[in-house]
Symmetry: C2
Subunit: 214 residues, 2 copies
Amino acid sequence: MGRDSSRQSGARTGGEEGADTPETLRLAQDQFIACWGKMGSAWGISRTMAEVHALLFITGEPLCTDDIMERLQISRGNASMSIRALLDWGVVARAHRRGDRKEYFTAEQDVWAMFRAVVRERMKREADPTLASLYEIRDLTASVEDATRRTKRAKQPPVDSAEADLMARVGEHNKRLDDMLKFFETVQSLTERFVSPSGRGLQIAATILGKAAS
Amino acid sequence: MGRDSSRQSGARTGGEEGADTPETLRLAQDQFIACWGKMGSAWGISRTMAEVHALLFITGEPLCTDDIMERLQISRGNASMSIRALLDWGVVARAHRRGDRKEYFTAEQDVWAMFRAVVRERMKREADPTLASLYEIRDLTASVEDATRRTKRAKQPPVDSAEADLMARVGEHNKRLDDMLKFFETVQSLTERFVSPSGRGLQIAATILGKAAS
DNA sequence: CTGTTGTTTCAGAAATGATTGAAAACAACA
DNA sequence: TGTTGTTTTCAATCATTTCTGAAACAACAG
């Protein structure tokens, strides 16, 4: 709805449907770009950055900054920033044309490689710092617990019930942190193995798991 | 730095370190909450919602709306919204105390269960709609390609080279979409199996993969 | 029924994040 | 070294999201 599909009458390209092909292709690309942009922003990636990536991916050919600006209707600054970020993420590469000073850009075409790059980058940026913080936080109360243990060994009866309660809380707190830490460690070591820059381990893992689950 | 750790002189609780324990515990909780909030917002979850969850998780005991407002210094409306969202996500549950009309809330304490709930919910909200859109987009150009094939079979020579080029583009476009689609399908079926509401499949999978990788 | 306690909603305020555009920096070349 | 075309940067602006606070609502006790 909202689009009159019987209006077109461009060059018929050998098919027998109503819309002409170049326009349909363009429409499909636009929808893909929109879809990708929406998904990106849901996952904390700027919509434009996702759209630029979508454009490069779906057209599959090298585009220059101006092409991107024009097609996405964004400013030069925005385009430049987004491209730079995509390069940093490793999902887009520079390309050059002979006799042209402009830089062109292409998106990684292997979907699994793309996925690996994204996960790798996000792990590096978010999971690793989080893990580091968790360790620090754990250190804050680790010593308290140690002290308690030492005290307990020395003289059996807890000094008073309020204090015993507090120690119990600290113990539980530490247990929760440890669980969390263990979880992150597991996830991290898994991704390090299977989302590693070189291999295509994840894809293999997916296949194995797909079979194992039946 | 930034915190004078030799200032405290509260009830010594059996340890021999400088800070008193209740304060240290509180500090550790606050840092955990901040850390969790930061990570949440990086992944497209509102910071407050993540913080509320962190608070419930790290204290481990049922808290009411006022407790949360007070501890996190947020408004009643915000607290209410965040709690509601966490309930929807299934990572927080209602609890009641006898003879108390207030509602209390507790966080899922099993980190893996928590993780499953989050992934499940996000899949439902983002991956599923994306997949649906991708199918629609694929349908746009699928018919074009079909038509081309039929034409080709009927009369061998392409009408002109521009048209042949266009058809090649459509073919590549469809290939890219199919790859994408295939990828999403794989991911979806994997998560359906291993992040399913009931089982703790992911954890098992993690163990298997951890071993398989060595 | 009415007062009390607790929860939800929602219009606007505040905060945060994205985008622009123009100037500065840069790179290639003559 | 100057010229030209291209990319990057960044303060100002704009858009979006999040948060607040007060009012509406719901559940219950007396």
